[in-house]
Amino acid sequence: MSDTAKEDAMTSAARGADVASLHDHVAGPGASGQSNGLEATRTSNAQETLPRPDTGLSQDLDRVSLVQALIDAEAATARVIDLTERLVDARRQMGELRGELEQLRIEYEQYRAGQERLRSSKAFRLAERLWTIRNALGI
């Protein structure tokens, strides 16, 4: 599936889920069976327990709110998709950098061990003493 197709599929899924969920909230649990459009939420038998004084105003604001909620959900989905892609990319980069870091650590340890071997050899210690004597004599 292409990136665009995946994005469309996720957006559609989010839209369906949100409409169903919002439908329950706006129209009440009794108003089921219509979840495929904004008008589906505008039922006359809304089971609201909380104040809904001006039915016309409430219904219109419900509609405005619902449309915006769907747009917000689409935007949120698109953002999740975008951020997920960035996260995957960042994780990949992090993995590569960790590998590079480990490689450098190993190389450094090898270099340090080589240096240590060199410093502990008889020839190095002899040369070091000779340099000390030369420095003391000012030669």
Binding site: L50, P51, R52, D54, L61, V64, S65, Q68, D72, A75
Partner: protein, 394 residues
């Protein structure tokens, strides 16, 4: 573009964002019922963001009904940015010319609408106008006694009327509007869009909106001619929506810093300029001197900055010796400093206020105190009181 006076009046929607906070909201609603509309028409829409407090939504609805306001309760909690968006979208839906987004922890003055709307009508490059307030972030006109204003719409009206006389519709360019009380023209909403819901429960969403509008060539204004009392995070703090070292605020601030790296420098530049200080000084002087002219004043000579027992009395205080040649005036917790002229303290105040003090109180002895005792002796309308220790209010 026709000038503001020639343009036809606007239809203005005031969208009040409510979430619990019954005491604060009730005051706010009552102040909204006194709004002066002329020449515009005003409709008030209360957007109750599914307040969970038992019975509050019903009471709020009943109060709105009594006051003739529209009321809408969201089926579920949206958070401040999305509740704001509902107001913005409703303004577009119903063809309002402008929308005023208002927090519920405010008390508005009668001159709110004309003072916020005129700058929008007079220019087509303004995306928002913010009212002045005791609590509006770096733009505040601070008072030591904010509760006095919060409990009295008359005082808020008085302060706002003084500010209107002082500033006469003048506006100040600011880095960003503040969402507690901002007017937005509908034409700009069409271009800029609405608040970004990424700001969750709120804070900084209006800064993001303003900075988006600035990128399109608009600017944000502060209207010092209009003073709104603002409790400040009143509802959110009470309801626990902010807390935990203000994590929400810092998270949202991080979004702003990421999107607009220059914004904090703009704030620093504004703060470093003489503008905020001059504005505050001018505002507080207008309040203190205006009140002194209307109701008279008292002059105190003493070393200590005593907290007065009655902040509704206009009071000037001066050190009892002449080392510091300035007098500090205070009223309703607003404070200003006035330089003392060569004629002395009482003459300076008489020339500014137009009348001698009603009363001079001597708290401590000194050369200045002696001068005041002499000044009181030659002014028949001035009462002199020397306060022994037990009468002093610390």
């Amino acid at each position: 573009m026709p000038s503001a006076s020639e343009a036809p009046p606007w239809r203005v929607l005031v969208a009040l964002l409510v979430y619990n906070g019954e005491a604060l909201v009730t005051q706010c609603l009552r102040s909204l019922s006194s709004l002066e509309a002329s020449p515009h028409s005003i409709e008030v829409l209360i957007l109750d963001d599914a307040s969970p407090a038992p019975g509050w939504s019903e009471r709020c609805q009943a109060l709105c009904s009594d006051l003739g306001f529209s009321y809408y309760r969201s089926p579920r909690n949206l958070g401040i940015p999305r509740n704001m968006n509902l107001g913005l979208l409703w303004a577009l839906e119903r063809g309002y010319d402008a929308v005023v987004l208002l927090n519920a922890d405010t008390v508005v003055p009668v001159n709110l609408i004309p003072q916020l709307i005129e700058p929008l009508r007079g220019s087509d490059d303004v995306s928002s106008v913010t009212a002045w307030s005791n609590n509006v972030s770096i733009y505040s006109l601070p008072t030591e006694e904010p509760d006095l204003l919060g409990s009295s719409p008359d005082l808020v009206n008085w302060v706002s009327a003084v500010m209107e006389r002082e500033f006469g519709g003048q506006t100040i360019d600011i880095p960003s509007a503040m969402g507690f009380c901002m007017a937005i023209p509908s034409a700009v909403i069409h271009q800029v869009g609405i608040m970004d819901p990424v700001f969750g429960r709120g804070y900084s969403e209006e800064i993001d909106w303003c900075l988006r509008s600035h990128s399109l060539g608009y600017k944000s204004l502060l209207a010092p001619s209009c003073f709104v009392y603002h409790a400040g995070s009143g509802v959110n703090k009470v309801e626990g929506l902010v807390g935990g070292a203000n994590r929400l605020m810092s998270a949202n601030q991080a979004i702003i810093d990421t999107r607009y790296p220059l914004y904090s420098a703009q704030i620093d530049a504004y703060w470093a300029s003489t503008l905020p200080g001059d504005l505050r000084e001018r505002g507080t002087r207008a309040i203190v001197i205006g009140a002194a002219k209307e109701q008279g004043y008292r002059l105190d000579a003493g070393w200590l900055q005593r907290r007065p027992s009655d902040e509704q009395v206009v009071r000037f205080r001066i050190d009892p010796v002449e080392a510091f040649p300035a007098v500090t005036g205070s009223y309703l917790g607003f404070e200003c400093t006035l330089p003392v002229g060569p004629g002395g303290v009482v003459e300076t105040l008489e020339s500014i206020v137009g009348a001698p003090p009603k009363e001079i109180r001597i708290h401590d002895r000194g050369s200045r105190s002696s001068e005041l005792i002499g000044a009181a002796a030659v002014r028949s309308g001035t009462q002199l009181r020397r306060l022994p220790y037990d009468e002093r209010v610390f």
